[in-house]
């Protein structure tokens, strides 16, 4: 084990790599942020400041861009990112109920989007393009269609159980 690089240093190396690849060009800011988010799953403040330093721009610009696109996350996300579709079709089929069920089940609210155990992050999205399956819930790219309150609770319990087993291994 002695020589394992811990994940943080590997990630930081990746930041350096990304910056080099884009030659520290301010015009490539979005691409840089995108690639860094892939590594960290979100954009940490200190890394954004570092990027600003490297690109010779103000941290305010980096922050402005990072907050403009909802794609960028400024806070770490949970292991499972749950997206509830609130497009027209899903909305009509009561996606709100499913959202509320999830919020209650995970102890979340409008502002609080990630559960304390860092297992779940809850997001709403506008139309996932799977209207035939409405209402739709997506967990880390896995689509679950025709959801009901009951099925939602079941889904969460299943993930939790799976996590418990992994922990005990």
């Amino acid at each position: 084990m002695g020589n394992d690089r811990n994940t943080f240093s590997i990630k930081f190396d990746k930041v350096c790599e990304v910056l080099d690849k884009h030659e520290c060009s301010p015009n490539k800011l979005i691409a840089i942020l995108q690639e860094i988010q892939e590594e960290y799953k979100y954009l940490p403040e200190d890394i954004m400041t570092y990027i600003a330093t490297a690109l010779g721009i103000s941290p305010g610009v980096v922050f402005g861009v990072a907050t403009f696109y909802s794609h960028f996350a400024l806070e770490p996300k949970g292991k499972y990112v749950i997206k509830v579709c609130d497009g027209t079709a899903c909305h009509v089929r009561k996606s709100k109920d499913i959202l509320q069920t999830l919020e209650k089940e995970l102890g979340l609210s409008g502002k609080k989007k990630t559960s304390d155990d860092m297992l779940f992050t809850l997001e709403t999205v506008a139309c996932l393009g799977a209207c035939g399956l409405a209402p739709v819930v997506v967990v880390n790219d896995e689509v679950h269609g025709s959801m009901t309150k009951e099925k939602t609770i079941e889904l969460i319990s299943r993930i939790r159980e799976q996590e418990r087993q992994e922990m005990n291994k």
């Binding site: 394992d4 240093s9 890394i47 980096v62 403009f68």
Partner: protein
């Protein structure tokens, strides 16, 4: 080439088109005060507020600020449709504005309030969307009240384009869009240099100077305190504007009289200590020049510029004059001498500065300017705040009998007065240099009195040929410095003022609609210079006395000079890159601040990581990245188990690591 003069018709009035940049300027030339929020002639056109909409026959409704004037245009600014639109915009703005107008410090000169009144807005048909939000009180100079912001973006562009700081920017989108500081930190925790230029353009009360009016009243009311005032040069030619005088009118006598009536025990002149600054800085300059050391000398009287240099040009800090600003020289000398003369304790002497500037508020709180925790300058109030205090006292400013400064710190030469205009410091220092080198020669150096914001001149004094640059506006300063760094330009002295045209246009000054207000204030200062008995600082008899009696031994050095520190742009913690729970053998910190970054810190980091990995040391090494080790001139800087290595190369780092390991074996 023959050019036909072109004209346009604006509201039935024919007007000649000259070089107006846009239709808005042409309309204003026709004496129509079209309301606007997001237009300022000195920054880029944003075109977001839509207040400047006008109708051009045949083209329909367009924003005047972003439309080019063309010959033959027939423009209407007041059609029924436009009037309706304007009212609606105001109603929409008010609906997303924290309407606590009665208690808002901006009330009275708030653009939103005034335009609403001008347009006769009497009801708001939309639902109130924004209510009170928490104030950002983190800065000593500026207060942000985000609930009042109408998103015109003026502050963003000023901070970015004029000051090249970028402490404010838009973030989020759509209905959530906001003007924020990086990472929503307090404005006192980010790279803001406190210049207050954003305060001056903000049409509403979203950005305000931090008022210290109540602290000053409290000191005045406290009978155990002796309260003295110092008045900066720029204040005397601008305060009158709050009482109906034209910009540039000197009201020194009335200001002193008002301060006495309000209860100040003594009233002194910051120009006195500006004379001191000239002498100290002049000597420093001549000394560096003869040794050819640390040139160019950068002036240090502007605290916004000083903070900017500390953040962005740490490698140039040894070029900054070590002289304190006139405000701080005054505070130090005043507390040193008056405490003895009046036989009171330092704590019972309260020094209040009246300044055209918000950054002076920050400067007065710097640790360098405290003795046992007691500041040399206790409170700084702006020109604006003084006007409020005078009005609050009910004093009829225009009817005051004139009064004059107290001695000895009230005697000034003309050189100390022109400090308030960009170029004034250089002229004053040149007068001193010429006087010293050419035995009593008294001359003017008018080269720097033009309104340009980057002025370069070569001047011969005796056998010396000096090359000077005078810049105002930090973005202009940045351009000059970048050229110096690249070796494209050489100067002996560079004067920098953060505010365009100098202190007369400071962040605490009145906001004037008159286009030549700032130039008139400058003229006011040069007229003051003419009226005074002496024009060279070293002729000031009270200064001579001060040097003979008070500034003896090391006191001149101790009271009049200071040091600078490299500053992080943003207050934030270090990044721990590699954490080791136990058994750690190596602790490495690498600086990733701007300066070290430019000097190759990142490459060094990558190489070191490779080395540590090859040597199988990663499991025993704690690696931290810091954002400024404060030794920027010597970068890249690495610390290995507490030992700092400057100008570090891979070889040097490896040698140190191996040495540490050998010791630990």
């Amino acid at each position: 080439m023959y050019m036909k003069t072109q004209t346009a018709v604006i509201d039935n009035f024919t007007i000649q088109i000259e070089d107006e940049k846009n239709l808005l300027e042409l309309i204003r030339k026709a004496n129509i005060e079209l309301p606007t929020f997001c237009y300022h002639s000195e920054i880029s056109v944003y075109g977001a507020c839509r207040m400047c909409m006008v109708e051009i026959e045949g083209r329909g409704i367009v924003p005047a600020c972003s439309t080019k004037p063309e010959g033959g245009m027939v423009v209407h600014t007041n059609t029924a449709q436009i009037r309706k639109m304007r009212k609606m915009i105001i109603e929409l703005m008010l609906a997303s504005h924290d309407q606590s107008c009665t208690t808002c410090p901006k009330s009275g000169d708030c653009k939103l309030q005034n335009i609403a009144k001008q347009l006769g807005v009497d009801k708001i048909r939309f639902k109130q969307m924004k209510t009170h939000q928490e104030l950002d009180l983190s800065s000593d100079a500026i207060i942000r009240d985000p609930g009042k912001c109408i998103l015109c973006g003026d502050c963003v562009r000023v901070c970015n384009e004029i000051q090249s700081v970028g402490a404010l920017d838009f973030a989020y989108r759509g209905a959530e869009a906001k003007v924020v500081t990086p990472f929503n930190k307090g404005i006192g925790e980010v790279e803001c240099v406190n210049c207050g230029q954003c305060v001056k353009v903000c049409p509403v009360g979203a950005l305000m100077p931090k008022y210290h009016i109540n602290d000053v009243w409290e000191a005045i009311h406290d009978k155990s305190k002796t309260v003295v005032a110092q008045i900066a040069p720029a204040v005397r030619v601008s305060l009158g504007e709050y009482f109906g005088y034209k910009p540039g009118t000197t009201t020194t006598g009335q200001i002193i009289a008002a301060l006495r009536r309000m209860g100040f025990d003594k009233v002194y002149d910051t120009s006195f200590s500006a004379d001191l600054t000239v002498i100290e800085e002049g000597r420093e300059f001549l000394d560096r020049y003869s040794k050819n050391e640390n040139l160019p000398l950068f002036t240090s009287c502007c605290p916004a510029w000083v903070k900017y240099a500390e953040q962005y040009y740490p490698d140039l800090l040894s070029n900054l004059s070590t002289c304190r600003s006139p405000q701080q020289m005054f505070g130090a000398v005043c507390k040193e001498q008056l405490v003895k003369d009046l036989k009171i304790s330092r704590e019972d002497l309260v020094v209040v500065s009246i300044m055209p500037c918000t950054a002076k508020k920050f400067e007065a709180r710097r640790d360098e300017f405290k003795t046992n925790g007691n500041p040399d300058v206790d409170y700084v109030i702006t020109t604006k705040e003084l006007s409020i205090m005078i009005k609050e006292s009910g004093i009829e400013f225009g009817k005051l009998e004139l009064s004059s400064f107290d001695m000895p710190f009230g005697f000034t030469t003309g050189a100390g007065v022109i400090f308030g205009a960009s170029g004034g410091v250089s002229e004053a220092v040149l007068r001193f240099a010429a006087y010293s080198l050419q035995k009593g020669f008294v001359g003017e150096f008018r080269q720097f009195r033009t309104g340009d914001r980057t002025k370069v001149s070569e001047i011969e004094i005796g056998d010396k040929k000096l090359r000077l640059a005078v810049v105002s506006g930090l973005a202009n300063a940045k351009k000059v410095i970048d050229k110096i760094r690249k070796g494209e330009e050489h100067y002996d002295l560079v004067e920098v003022m953060a505010c365009c045209d100098g202190c007369i246009n400071g962040g605490g000054q009145p906001v004037s609609n008159a286009s030549n207000a700032v130039a008139d204030r400058a003229k006011g200062l040069y007229d003051n210079d003419k009226m005074l008995q002496f024009h060279v600082s070293s002729e000031n008899p009270y200064i001579k006395q001060l040097y003979n009696e008070t500034l003896v031994d090391d006191k001149a050095h101790r009271l009049l000079h200071t040091t600078y520190e490299n500053r992080r742009r943003i207050l934030q913690d270090d990044i721990i890159i590699n954490e080791v729970p136990e058994n750690k053998k190596l602790e490495i910190t690498i600086c990733f601040g701007t300066s070290c970054f430019l000097r190759g810190a990142q490459t060094l980091y990558t190489q070191l990581m490779e080395y540590l990995s090859e040597r199988e040391l990663l499991g025993k090494t704690e690696f931290t990245a810091s954002f400024c080790g404060k030794q920027c001139k010597k970068g890249p800087v690495i610390s290995i188990n507490g030992k700092n290595i400057e100008h570090c190369t891979l070889e040097m780092a490896v040698a140190e690591i191996e040495a540490v390991l050998r010791l630990k074996m």
